[in-house]
Symmetry: D2
Subunit: 150 residues, 4 copies
């Protein structure tokens, strides 16, 4: 079986993900960047700005969830057929440490690929020059919709 995260994507697959990411208005509003995309593994970064905070000045869980959801969705999408589309069925997130740092880094990693359903592990870190703290971990179920534009 394919080793998740070890294979580079073909250029066409990479383009498909970059195009789709660029159409996500929310990623652009938040200021999120697609940092890495390998087969079954996608990383998204979100630099800190006051616009992203909750009431105590940390990153709002909604921002954390937004990049975690997109990272997982695209991680699953890397393993789906070219003419298909991906939708999130559900996700669950545990917020395990205050979400702070110069940026958040969210990783989606496929645990179980499937023709219809794909399950991903979601992890988010808060990154500062001297430290990297695990701020959230979660699970996500995706569905592959055949024959729908990405």
């Amino acid at each position: 079986m394919m080793e998740i995260g070890s294979s580079d994507l073909p250029q066409a697959a990479l383009d498909r993900i970059r195009d789709s990411f660029a159409r996500q208005g929310l990623m652009s509003l938040l200021g999120a960047e697609l940092a890495e995309a390998k087969a079954g593994l996608v990383t998204i970064r979100l630099p800190f700005k006051p616009d992203l905070t909750q009431q105590h000045g940390y990153f709002h869980a909604g921002g954390t969830a937004s990049i975690a959801d997109s990272a997982g969705g695209y991680a699953g999408f890397t393993l789906m057929p070219g003419d298909s589309s991906v939708l999130t069925v559900e996700f669950k997130l545990n917020l395990i440490n205050p979400a702070q740092g110069d940026f958040l880094e969210a990783t989606g990693r496929v645990i179980k690929p499937g023709r219809t359903l794909t399950v991903c592990q979601l992890d988010v870190w808060g990154v500062a020059p001297a430290r990297r703290v695990h701020v959230a971990t979660g699970l996500q179920t995706l569905i592959c919709v055949q024959g729908k534009p990405a």
Copy 2:
């Protein structure tokens, strides 16, 4: 036992929630509005704009999650002591219909209040003139942190 959602909040409690909501940079970036706050029940609205979309033009699940998380957090907060603070422990969201409409409306409703932990039901609707569609449902666990500013 108190009937959730039926009691008006004292002005001080309402002010505390409005102040806290106003400090959430993300709510302002998204354009979310605090629509209603009663004891154990809070509603937040999010008008549509292209900045909030995922790749197919619907509301991104991250926006849906953001207002659902805040609605639940504040619903729990209405029942917590005045000198306490609320943090989300975890939440889970099922995305059951495409998130579209003139605006999203997220409701957080306390199912189980507690001294330390509070559990909320989260629901989000997509609202247009002629229809109101249930787009997401979820559960959220909150923790009350004593003696921390809101």
Copy 3:
């Protein structure tokens, strides 16, 4: 749209569920009983016995989860085609009060039926002569597998 829980099932559908339930070895080991089955709504009861406890003498969360999962699965199954089968994709359960009483009563209620995926709300109560306490609430995602015996 059909009102969940208000319609009696045709006898053939009821028989299909009773037959399937009878084949669940675990329900019989636990001593669980199929109490009610309507369209989109199924209730299962689990009488207390010391064999079902966790370390403090309450019902173990695993027993609570077992009847909640079966109740949701069969609730979804009532709305699926006769030649299909149902599998649980995932579920999440919040344990909100100590699970005690003469018996547990678990209800699965379809929130969102679908051709492929169905989402159910799960609730469990601890029932004693003088009280009925909400002990768990959850969400469940089911998948309908076509052409597989029930």
Copy 4:
């Protein structure tokens, strides 16, 4: 920081867990065995018997959930004070492959220990002589209750 799963437990801690496990009537009814307990990592095995099945003859998700919940609960418990008790706040489980094999093996691993709340990753494998299949993965939130017998 302590490396989860690498440290042997003191005999007193091991005894505390074995005693507690022995008081879980459900584990004994199911036939589950405490296979390993290290600091922050606990493994429980559940040999197959027809009494544990769902309608297709696989292990019922309730049995899978039961041993996963206990494994996570005890994994968290290994890191809690001697006079405390552990309760499950919530858990979520994705069922990613048919649960079959000679036995199931559930591992609970602490991701985030805490004075009040602890978060665990739950994984279950179906084990047969020639194969070991990942059948479920999940997340669990535990609460440490001070001064309550284990």
